[in-house]
């Protein structure tokens, strides 16, 4: 089919140039990696535990530490390895439970549990958390000791009773409430923010720079030669449009699949993500086609295309998150919505942050579809004029 032949040749020519492979595929992945490392959401702090014994109290302490919310606890063999792991950044902190923990406590001796950490804020927070766990166990032990001293039974009997009371006691609770909306950063995984913002930025940018291929085709006389074959202008237009779209599609799919596999990015509702990406890519392809049909010089178009691509991406929230933009400049936030990027970002945030489905992003999809329809129509009209004049 002629349309497919024209489209396939567009894709083939793009990836024939190795520099394009770098800028189209590797560069976005690298940026997502860098952004994830620099600004990505916090992951659980890693806490190592050295536990040599198998006593009930020691096991109870380990279970209490492992049960702490928001801490990734793991067991280690000895103190030396855990210290080395902290020094190498493999762990934020470590807890070393001394040998004979149970025996010492049951004998009424004081036991020192070692807490080792880097002098960082996150490690300091862990100190408090681990301290509270130790305090909890210590309180039960103190209660058991007190009961034993008052003749309420052996220490073991008193301990069992104290644990039972602690498990059923209502105790104190702190009621939490939040004020204001959380920042996007705080809700996203390490790579999500970079993934969807760079996806939109690079797909649009590639469509802009890819417009030079259309100009080159005209400059080389290949477009005119296509018209000398038994191929209608409409077929050529559709082929060129499909070619632009196919390039965006290939790039976008590789970024989506690549980030999901390599960085564990969750793109949310697949149907919603696919719809957002497709309509955004159609718009980007349409703008690329419009540029390719309007400019006569490929170098000029390439330079201006990069400027437009980066400029619209920056304005649309690919570099400064829209949530922050809205706080600091509501006007700028409103202006950002003249770009398809802003609508794409809001659609992805709905899917990824709030677990929305395609039904929740109908407005964004409608705006992106309208944008795509307008620029595609304009691009096709300009390209027809440039081919047939």
């Amino acid at each position: 089919m002629k349309i497919l032949a024209i489209a396939a040749t567009s894709v083939q020519r793009l990836f024939r140039d190795r520099t394009n492979i770098f800028f189209v595929l590797l560069m976005p992945m690298l940026l997502i990696l860098v952004l994830g490392a620099a600004f990505g959401g916090e992951s659980d702090p890693r806490l190592g535990i050295v536990s040599g014994g198998s006593g009930a109290l020691e096991s109870d302490l380990v279970e209490r530490i492992e049960a702490i919310d928001g801490v990734a606890a793991s067991r280690w063999d000895d103190r030396a390895t855990i210290i080395l792991a902290i020094e190498r950044g493999q762990l934020e902190a470590g807890v070393v439970i001394p040998e004979g923990y149970d025996e010492a406590l049951l004998a009424g001796e004081k036991v020192n549990v070692e807490f080792a950490a880097k002098p960082e804020e996150s490690a300091q927070a862990l100190t408090i958390t681990v301290q509270s766990v130790l305090t909890d166990q210590g309180a039960i032990l103190q209660a058991a000791s007190y009961a034993e001293s008052k003749g309420a039974g052996t220490f073991a009997e008193s301990l069992a009773r104290a644990e039972g009371i602690a498990a059923t006691a209502k105790g104190l609770d702190v009621e939490q409430s939040s004020a204001g909306e959380p920042f996007v950063f705080d809700q996203l995984g390490r790579f999500e923010l970079g993934a969807y913002s760079q996806l939109l930025l690079f797909v649009f940018l590639t469509s802009m720079t890819g417009s030079t291929a259309l100009i080159q085709s005209r400059q080389l006389g290949v477009s005119e030669r296509m018209l000398s074959t038994p191929t209608s202008v409409r077929t050529i237009l559709l082929g060129e449009a499909l070619g632009r779209f196919a390039v965006a599609l290939v790039q976008g799919l590789l970024i989506i699949v690549g980030t999901a596999l390599m960085f564990g990015v969750d793109w949310g509702d697949p149907l919603g993500a696919a719809a957002t990406f497709i309509v955004f890519s159609l718009g980007a392809s349409g703008v690329g086609m419009l540029m390719g049909a309007t400019f006569k010089n490929d170098q000029q178009a390439g330079g201006i295309g990069v400027m437009i691509g980066i400029g619209m991406g920056a304005l649309g929230g690919c570099m400064l998150p829209l949530a922050i933009m809205k706080i600091f400049s509501p006007t700028l936030w409103k202006v950002a919505h003249i770009t398809p990027h802003a609508w794409g970002i809001e659609a992805f945030e709905e899917l990824i942050l709030r677990g929305g489905t395609i039904a929740d992003i109908t407005l964004e999809i409608a705006v992106l579809s309208a944008f795509a329809a307008v620029v595609f129509a304009l691009g096709a009209w300009r390209l027809r004029v440039s081919l047939t004049k």
Binding site: K2, A5, I6, T9, Q12, R13, R16, D17, L220, G221, V222, E224, R225, M226, L227, S228, T229, P230, T231, S232, T388
Partner: protein, 315 residues
């Protein structure tokens, strides 16, 4: 092809760009197996005429009929009969020869085994089979020209239109291109060949249309054109013996316009040197003259063009 064996008929083609009348009433026809040359200097209207014939350029007036079907800029199926080779090399430089041919073969409607077979055949015809998978940007100018021509041959068109296909080509590649065109014509393909190289038109074309300022000022076979302007072939004989007697005897032969004795031989003006030479040599020998060398000067299309337009082809 229509009932008259004509593959192309174009009548009264006109096209103006602003005040410039680029093509002004051009018309000619080409039959199957015939090579028709449009000979004229740069800017004479050759490419504009071809663009209208191929349906690439809207015409102000006139008509183009290919294989009995009118062809306009809106025609699609009718273009199947035409193979167009533009003056500028129109290929993707970042694709290989084979990839370029495959791409255009698809646009010409070839598919599957037929496309593969035809691409391989054309690679052989243009002598690029051993470089089929090399990027065309690495080719020499001549190789690119050959690939440019090969694309126009992919679908075995009835009419091959070549717009100055040898511009900027080295002599070896040029000769290869001309040989290819000769072979295609022999195989029955109608060829429209534009050039401003007189020797190419003389070598390839059965008929030539001389175009200048958008008009065909004369048309015919090389012989007809030369006769049109009264030019004749000159045979120069270097000879010894009774040259005066030989000149008198030769002058009375049919087809001989003039025979003049010189110190070292004689000059003879004839309609057609090829036809007359054998008879002249016999007459001269009968007059007791010994001939040591023969030179033939045939008037060429350059002289015809100069006569018709008052300027040289490369002006």
């Amino acid at each position: 092809m229509n009932g008259d064996g004509l593959v192309l008929e174009c009548r009264d083609l006109r096209r103006a760009f602003g005040d410039l009348q680029a093509v002004d009433g051009v018309g000619f026809s080409i039959a199957e197996g015939e090579t028709y040359g449009l000979l004229g200097p740069n800017g004479a209207g050759k490419t504009t005429s071809i663009s209208m014939i191929c349906g690439l350029l809207e015409r102000d007036s006139g008509e183009v009929v290919i294989d009995g079907h009118p062809l306009t800029t809106k025609s699609v199926a009718e273009k199947r009969a035409v193979g167009y080779v533009p003056q500028d090399i129109a290929i993707y430089p970042d694709l290989s020869a084979k990839e370029n041919l495959n791409f255009f073969a698809r646009l010409y409607g070839l598919s599957g085994v037929e496309r593969k077979k035809r691409v391989d055949e054309v690679l052989e015809i243009i002598g690029l089979a051993d470089r089929a998978n090399d990027r065309s940007e690495d080719f020499s100018g001549g190789m690119k020209r050959r690939l440019n021509i090969g694309i126009g041959l992919l679908h075995s068109p009835h009419l091959l239109i070549l717009d100055e296909p040898t511009v900027g080509v080295d002599p070896q590649s040029r000769n290869a291109i001309l040989e290819s065109v000769e072979n295609l014509s022999t195989e029955g393909m109608a060829v429209l060949y534009t050039t401003h190289y007189m020797e190419e038109a003389e070598r390839l074309c059965n008929r030539v249309g001389i175009i200048d300022h958008g008009k065909i000022v004369a048309e015919g076979t090389r012989r007809e054109l030369i006769e049109l302007v009264g030019q004749r072939d000159r045979i120069r004989l270097r000879a010894t013996g009774n040259i005066e007697a030989a000149a008198q005897a030769t002058a009375s032969m049919p087809g001989v316009y003039e025979a003049a004795a010189r110190d070292d031989g004689l000059d003879v003006l004839v309609d057609n040197a090829a036809d007359a030479l054998t008879g002249i040599l016999g007459t001269v020998a009968a007059a007791g003259v010994s001939v040591s060398s023969v030179d033939v000067d045939e008037p060429n299309l350059e002289a015809v063009f100069l006569h018709l337009t008052g300027r040289a082809l490369r002006d």
